[in-house]
Subunit: 303 residues, 5 copies
């Protein structure tokens, strides 16, 4: 997640460097062409550039809106993960509070569910970002569980499978009653849902032809605009067209970046920082000693 300040100009410019350079080049070519064959170039009516400009503005605005909604949905999903992680611990702690508070083997299972929940958050974030989903998990789950995960295709799903088994074991031990088991396993099911939703955003390519014709449409607009401007303002065309092109490409690139929020880029949903928040909340609920600090931004962004 980009922060609202300190974003280096370099970062923004790098995203549109190639496209703006290309626009600069053809704008210069048109200018030279104009000098060479003065009369042959037709006076493209400015109305055409205007129509195309309106068209591409509309498509870009809608595209940006759809990308924004994907980005916001990704954040909502991770917000739900925060909520359900907290709810899971609140429910477990309250439900087994009274009768079984003293039984250490019950307490141990609750603690291990809590730590595994932290592990799940980190693991899901890493797996969405195509990083090793088992990295650093040894801090939170025992070695035999790590071994059990090795040959599973979907590690976070396997962790939730272990949750479900533990919840059922608590029910077998009568630490949870029927209704309480239903409620807690309902919370785990919501975690399955959130995981699947994040995977859906991650694996669904934004309609490819849509992205392609937007890119093509911007170029068409800039070429027509270039023809119009070279006629009207001569050499001043070059800075003007570069500024206009930069703006349109910046809109397009922003849309493209926020539409894939788990790509290990500065515009990502800050899944590591969110997992850290969950780690803090759960550890404080469990009364664990080594509560970490909240994640700090990495310059101008937070991962």
């Amino acid at each position: 997640m980009l922060l609202s300040h300190n974003i280096p100009f370099r970062y923004i410019f790098r995203k549109i460097r190639v496209d703006v350079l290309r626009v600069l080049l053809f704008s210069i070519s048109f200018h030279i062409l104009k000098l060479v064959l003065t009369d042959a170039l037709p006076p493209v009516p400015s109305g055409l550039a205007s129509v195309l400009g309106t068209g591409i503005s509309l498509l870009l605005a809608f595209n940006l809106n759809q990308s924004y909604e994907r980005w916001w949905e990704a954040r909502i999903i991770w917000g739900a993960i925060v909520n359900d992680s907290r709810a899971l611990m609140l429910e477990l702690k309250a439900f087994i509070a009274s009768a079984d508070a003293q039984k250490p083997h019950i307490q141990a299972v609750v603690r291990s569910i809590g730590l595994r929940q932290i592990a799940w958050c980190y693991s899901l974030g890493q797996s969405l970002r195509k990083q090793n989903p088992l990295e650093h998990l040894e801090e939170f789950i025992p070695a035999q569980e790590l071994a059990h995960l090795q040959d599973k295709m979907n590690k976070p799903l396997a962790l939730l499978e272990l949750h479900m088994q533990d919840v059922n074991w608590l029910y077998q031990e009568q630490a949870l009653n029927q209704m309480q088991q239903t409620q807690v396993s309902g919370t785990v099911t919501r975690l399955v849902d959130s995981m699947g939703k994040a995977e859906r955003i991650n694996t669904t390519v934004f309609p490819a032809t849509y992205s392609m014709f937007i890119h093509f449409f911007i170029y068409l607009f800039l070429v027509i605009l270039s023809f119009t401007l070279v006629e009207a303002i001569g050499v001043y065309e070059i800075p003007v067209l570069t500024a206009v092109a930069s703006t349109f490409f910046l809109v397009e690139k922003t849309a493209r970046h926020i539409q894939d929020p788990f790509m290990n880029k500065p515009t990502d949903t800050p899944v590591t920082a969110i997992a850290r928040t969950i780690e803090i909340n759960i550890k404080q609920m469990l009364g664990e000693p080594n509560v970490p600090e909240p994640a700090q931004p990495d310059g101008y962004f937070l991962m």
Copy 2:
């Protein structure tokens, strides 16, 4: 689902070939007409083309947005199918874990629900795409169940009926308690919902007059624009108009393609690949030996 790279130019062009050719033809006709009767043609004010251009851009942008939402809803529905398939297995495995883990006839029913769930996913995808909904199902369900499905109008619904009966049988055998039966049959009901939602998108024709007047509006705009351009830039009109027409028809065709996401086309929701993911997840949960590989893209798209 189209991938973000490798889309052949041929694929994109084929979609708009006929319409662009038609535009090319009338643009050439206008040019010839202009040469023949020089003064008779009135100077259509460019403002009119501009108004129509804005109008059709707006309608296209909204239309594309509505199509995008249909496409995204279809993907959300199949995402929910992934989640509920996983939840179904997690619940069944956890709920009957302890007491009845050893009873083989209970285990057999859970396994057969799991395999039938895989069958249901493939069957639903094939039935939405108007393919044979029973193809390849013999791998997952026994022969007598296949026979039972033969004369049912809606095969996937009949498969869920069998799920419900098995879940109730587990309850009768006391492998599930009251609450657990309610929760598991609630999961099956959500699968009924997802199926119905996908069928709804598949059987609901996008408002036909809406699509028609958008097509008519684009032509009206191009004709008026052609009149304007032939006046202003002469023979250069032909490439310019072709480029503009291609862009608008490309937007329209993209909208039309993604608005029907189960038509067995490259822009489809990748239901077969999703069903494969579910097959992998469920088989790993059941400890089945023959876990397949994830589905691979077929050139530039994934089905």
Copy 3:
């Protein structure tokens, strides 16, 4: 629901006949006026028509979008009715499967709930379309139930009341346990919701002043455009203005038609066809002999 092909030109034209004729008339009048008093008419700047054209395009596009969403919501509601009708039967059949499968009086009640559910779907569709809500119901419900419905203001609601009583009776007879009764009566409650939602769309007039000023705005735009065009292109104005006017009125009429989807018109949500689908599904689940064919389109539309 209009199908995507075979829509007769006559059907589309009839919707906008009066308005286009009116535009034709004043466009001709302006032309004559122009011939009579050559200099008195002021040269309305084309920019004004352009501004108004953008304004009315925007309002029409938003209006069409809101109408589309009403139409789509209506379809979603009937999709939910399909899902809950299926879920109701799946639940009932599974829950009473084992113990009471042999008791004929239990089976009879389940069958009568199934047939009444079919009756409810037809009755709701007919009542939304202001047709006789009891027509053809004698095929599905016994005479004394029909008599009981006679003096009820809201027939579909009274049918759901009978559902609820039967479900409770099944619970009293211990064919359903506490949890199962809750789940089945929850399904009936969702049907109450869907019914209320469809009634809401049906009884809520789209903001009337909104529709009125859109109509007025289109005329204002066409009058100003007519002034502009008569100046610029003379007699060619008449076909051009007629084409432009047709397009705008077509958009407006399409918005108006799809915004009321239960008016017994070709653009309706196909409630009869959906009820037929439900009839087929339920009858196959009940093993009834006389399963009908799916509803066939009536020329270019499906009711």
Copy 4:
């Protein structure tokens, strides 16, 4: 709720009278100014009016859309109140049907919940409209309940409190079992939700600066347009500008009216008519004798 016909011209005009008059005045002033100092006024380029016109059209269209969504949400909330009122009675009637049908004190409590539910609907509608929330309630609830409500700040909430107590009493008397109590009190909780949602819309002022700059923006556009037109078409400016101004102010006022749907105005959500529908439904379910007629429109609107 305005009906779709019979809206008096007077009603529409009154809403925009002041603003149109103001526009008329400055348009006349500009015309006189133009006559006095012919050359001093600069020729404002029509492109500027065009840009501002596009800008304000966009903001108005979005604003109208947001207002429409508030209005539609208000209607959805009252639709949910209809559904939950019906569900409450269906559940109560079915759940206590068998065993306790003969016990008159149980029947009396169900009847008093039903009548209180009618009272709650009227009371909520009146309280949202800042009318006396206790008016006419004596028809539905006994005197001591009315007295109990007197010193409560939020009367509808206090009525739902009484509902909850009665539902719990039915459970204590074993007329409802555990699950049934949960389901019925869940329905009452949904009524609490709907009430809170309606209050939310009623107490949340639409962002005030947003409304203000839209008003300011329309004036800026009209002033610039007036400058442009006085140059081009002279005295004809006055009717043209008045027509354009009327249209834009009409859009603005429509947005403003539908964004507050509980203000006791003709554009309100028809809460009294909806409460009457609920009264009819509940009284027919209870078999009450004095079932009223549905509410009739009051000329061109329904309250």
Copy 5:
């Protein structure tokens, strides 16, 4: 929350002072430049300003819409907090009404949950606004609970932990049955959700590059417009450009203010006033003596 009247002009102007001044400065510079080097400046075609104006209008309108939706979502979340606070008390009061009404230690726990719920609302509001989350809480919760909160990172979450423990204690004491405990703890879970949702809005920075290029785009548009106007209307450019610039910056600033609704600014969601409403409702339900008055607006806004 800004009220709809009494907003001082000073408040609105202060928001855009710097940007408008900057525009004023470069507009004057251009005018002087024009006087100095008359012919060197090219005649920028007004069409370009028009295209950029349409583009930035669209982006601003969409941006405003997205900000509006964040603002409205924040209000919906706090509306849900009102509803769930009321539901929590209604449920507790009704469920323990009969049997345990006389037992004072049960009553004391219900009362302390009620007062803690009030404390939670104030605490959450203060914590979202980065104020001391424990301020004034001593009025509602006992000293030892306050002490317990001291070292918790997330105070409102710790308060809900205490709620859950009390609810479970009521179940242990058999003041609530299984189903009732589930329902009440479900209500507490919804409060956890609402809290997490508010935190999500509060900690998620609106895509920073999006905000940046909108700001840059407005400047680009104004510079190009300034070039166009200085050519056409000379010194009149200065007031015209200032008015146009003010409007665009006002839209931008409004979008920026409402997109962060918990910043302790006049445009905030009125969390303190909402917490006061909840305090009044809960205290009246508990029969507490010292019910406060509703919060009064602070001049032109309500916090």
